[in-house]
Amino acid sequence: MAAHQQPAMDEGMHHANYHYGHAHLLARYCDLPDPLHPPRLQGYLQHGWNMGDGLAPGTPFVDGSKIFVWSEETRRRSWSQGRRDVIVVGAPFAYLLEMEPEPADAPEPEGTIFYPFHGWEGQQISGDHQKLIDEVKKVETGPVTACLYWNEYRMKSVRKIYENAGFRVICHGYRGFWWRDHNREFLVGQLKELRRHRRVVSNRLCSAVWYGALAGREAAVYGDPMVLDNADPTFGGEPRLRRQWPELYGHQTDNAVTHALARQQLGADELAHPDELRAILGWPASTERVK
């Protein structure tokens, strides 16, 4: 997919706002009449947890655009990097949890969902998958589901490694590109999978781990973090993750602590009211009072 290797993004792009069905999910939260086709967001929505300014590295950015970030800490950092008009809205996943609280009669979660650290369309990772699998098998006691990023899931050889290990191999789908092929239910499916499991683990601290912690799952990061091609060291790289959030590292972690941290990082305590969110995102105001 040539377009994916070097995104031909024009200056006015906001297509990342639709990744993972983020815009759709917020439209649903805001009770927009047609949440499957949300109107344009008047700004850039942070589309993944990061330790930079909230935008993906190299994102072409139009000066003067608003930036919607997940947490106050990201807002501060973003300001320090020269960004202005940075508004904390919270992570779309946190909104999903608000809309879909865990049912009281939900089946008992079981096993572990494992997210091997993934690259993306522009950067591939290199590392020893087998070594990682061995460590996961050694640590995790229940059944393990390996959730691969879409491009790794498509690579039969990689998938096979995890299948041979006896893992159930899944993929949450394609996050979409250039307003096309979005899995609008990406986060819904992810939440469903997270809730099936007792633990969420990864070899690198990433959005999925925070999501799991926010959803009340045991969250742990361990194993070879693998190396990302052309990794950008601007914000400290992988070693910083380990230093700054050591609470999530190790085979066992403290649930209360990781949950509290997830609430901070995903802005779960700073979610906007639907009407407020409409106003912030530049969506039409509701004529009826939303519950």
């Binding site: 003067g64 800490e73 501060r76 300001w79 020269g82 060291p233 601007t234 700054q244």
Partner: protein, 620 residues
């Protein structure tokens, strides 16, 4: 608004690859909360770093071999180096990892702690804690945030029982905030992810008393407190106990002059709401300089056997460099003592930096410039002539063969202190290497005063439309000295040299400055501190002048119309006389009549004279 993406684009800003490949430093400890892709040393991203000779002088009093020092937050290298030079064991807390690594590499004698103040080891205590940058840059963008009050507490907790805390605390009521005219300031700096001017924080100590009380809660006693001017980051004048708020102090006139010079230097060319010198001057009259001081510098001692803290009434020092001196009063005498000498002789533009400031010993008197301003405002021309005559005589008495040497040659009227024994010179910064013509020196002093009267919108008894040269001519005329255009030009040249020595003007700046100063008219705004009030005042004067010019133009227009009519009528008459026979006849008749009348009268006068002469001869 800056929306730079320096950190995001590899070809701009810091070379991270180089930074990462640099060898690790073993005097750096990362304590947590350190910021990546960030530097407080970049003036485009963060506030200036604290520096200055008085700061360095004070700090060194409490550091020394065997003593541990914590420097909290970004400071200029010179401050930290001064501490390390004492032989103390210095730890330096920096939130920026880039700054921390650079500091560690550049100063092998110190330990650098990279991170936020909240991550400081609570068990670690220091003999001296230095926070000349205040508390605003002790939080990082990462992790837990502490309020200003908590940070003050945290610094106090880091002091040994027998230790000392030196803290510079920004005053939100400070004159530097009051006069600020900086549209978009809130958005300008990348360091202001929280507004550092937040005046709604009810816990933050808002006065010197509140700061003292806050420190007392942590067991520290403020042993010396100073009002710091003109800016928190570069204090050049510190006013301490004995002078602070004491309107009767004999040091008051020196303080006024020192503050005026300090603000002129710090705010030169900076747009402000109003010239801070006027506000400070009013505060000085009210003894309220502590209330409007840009910052308070407090030196607090722990409850144990902390070193003695020496107080100073007035400390004055360079913003850049080492030079600092103290002015004290003892009984009715005033003494100036150099605390830190110049690093070496400085000569610029034919001027030499003065290394031993001297001050008149008498404590009773007044600054000549202030007195003249007052007399100008009250239109007291008689006393003004007396003052100027005294000044003129004093200046002439210092000259030899019409030439002046030493500081007096470049002293302004603000540098002259008039005592019972006559005028004397206050401490100044520069003296000419070669002598200066008396006339040039005097014209410069008076012209400079005239410029100030005009550009600061001060009331004076002369026409509002007078320009600086007009006023100079009038004022010097009071002492019987006329001025020529060339002599004003020479005086302005001397003034530009003085400014170049003081502020390091480039050749192009000097050229522009010369033109600006030579053209000071009623419509000129301030020539040093660009105050909005002074600008609107100049605009008002321009309009005032323009409205009168318009009225005069109307009047002239009417007069010309009227004259045109008269001329036209006369022209018609002339043409009538010249062109028609009747006219010619009348013209000839009138001319003949005039000739007859003229010659007839002449004849009669001659006849009467001759008759009278004959009669007088007959009487003899």
């Amino acid at each position: 608004m800056s929306e730079r993406s320096a950190a995001l684009l590899p070809n701009e800003g810091t070379d991270f690859a180089a930074a990462l490949s640099a060898p690790p430093v073993n005097n750096l400890r990362r304590i947590g909360g350190e910021m990546f892709a960030w530097s407080d040393r970049d003036p485009q991203r963060s506030q200036p770093l604290p520096r200055g000779a008085v700061l360095r002088h004070l700090l060194r009093q409490y550091a020394g071999p065997g003593r541990t020092v914590l420097v909290a937050g970004p400071h200029s290298e010179e401050v930290v180096a001064a501490l390390a030079d004492t032989g103390a064991s210095v730890s330096w807390l920096l939130r920026s990892l880039i700054d921390a690594e650079e500091a560690a590499r550049g100063n092998s004698r110190i330990t650098v702690l990279a991170g936020a103040a909240v991550k400081l080891d609570a068990a670690e205590k220091f003999d001296l804690v230095v926070a000349a940058d205040g508390v605003d840059r002790l939080n990082s963008a990462e992790g837990e945030q502490m309020s200003a009050a908590q940070l003050v507490d945290r610094l106090a907790e880091a002091v040994q029982p027998d230790g000392v805390l030196l803290l510079m605390h920004d005053n939100r009521l400070g004159v530097h905030h009051t006069v600020r005219l900086e549209p978009g300031a809130r958005e300008r700096l990348d360091s202001d992810w929280y507004n550092t001017d937040d005046e709604t924080d009810t816990q933050r100590p808002a006065s010197q008393e509140q700061l003292t009380a806050r420190l007392a809660q942590s067991g520290l006693t403020v042993a010396a407190a100073y009002a710091a001017f003109p800016e928190p980051a570069a204090p050049t004048v510190l006013v301490g106990e004995g002078l602070l708020g004491e309107v009767a102090s004999p040091l008051r006139p020196r303080l006024g002059t020192a503050l005026s010079q300090a603000f002129a230097g710090a705010f030169r060319g900076r747009p402000v709401l109003s010239d801070p010198r006027r506000l400070v001057n009013r505060a000085l009259r009210a003894g309220a300089e502590g209330t409007v001081a840009p910052a308070w510098l407090v030196i607090a001692r722990g409850p144990g056997a902390a070193p003695a803290v020496e107080g100073h009434e007035l400390l004055i020092g360079d913003a850049r460099g080492t030079f600092a001196y103290e002015v004290t009063s003892a009984g009715d005498q005033v003494r100036t003592t150099v605390l830190e000498p110049l690093e070496g002789p400085i000569e610029r533009e034919g001027l030499r930096r003065i290394s031993e400031p001297t001050a008149p010993g008498a404590d009773v008197g007044y600054v000549l410039e202030e007195r003249l301003e007052h007399l100008a405002a009250t239109s007291d021309l008689r006393r003004m002539r007396v003052e100027l005559a005294q000044y003129d005589a004093w200046l002439r008495s210092q000259a030899q063969d019409g030439l002046l040497t030493g500081p007096v040659a470049v002293a302004g009227l603000a540098d002259v202190f008039v005592t019972e024994d006559g005028p004397a010179l206050l401490p100044t910064n520069w003296e000419p290497v070669e002598s200066v013509a008396l006339e040039t020196a005097e014209i410069r002093a008076v012209w400079s005063f005239a410029v100030q009267l005009i550009t600061s919108g001060q009331p004076h008894p002369w026409p509002i439309t007078s320009n600086a040269v007009d006023l100079t001519a009038t004022i010097l005329g009071m002492v019987g000295q006329g001025i020529a255009a060339d002599s004003v030009r020479a005086a302005v040249e001397l003034h530009v040299r003085l400014e170049t020595a003081e502020y390091g003007l480039s050749l192009s700046d000097q050229h522009d400055r010369r033109l600006q100063l030579l053209a000071v008219s009623p419509g000129s705004a301030s020539v040093d501190v660009a105050g909005f009030r002074e600008l609107t005042e100049a605009l008002w004067r321009q309009r005032y002048e323009a409205s009168h010019l318009l009225a005069m133009m109307d009047w002239t227009e009417q007069i010309i119309k009227s004259r045109d009519l008269q001329v036209s009528k006369m022209d018609w008459e002339v043409q009538f006389y010249k062109k028609t026979w009747a006219g010619r006849f009348l013209w000839i008749s009138r001319s003949a009549y005039r000739v007859i009348m003229r010659d007839g009268r002449k004849f009669m006068r001659g006849r009467r004279a001759r008759k009278a002469e004959a009669q007088s001869n007959a009487v003899r």
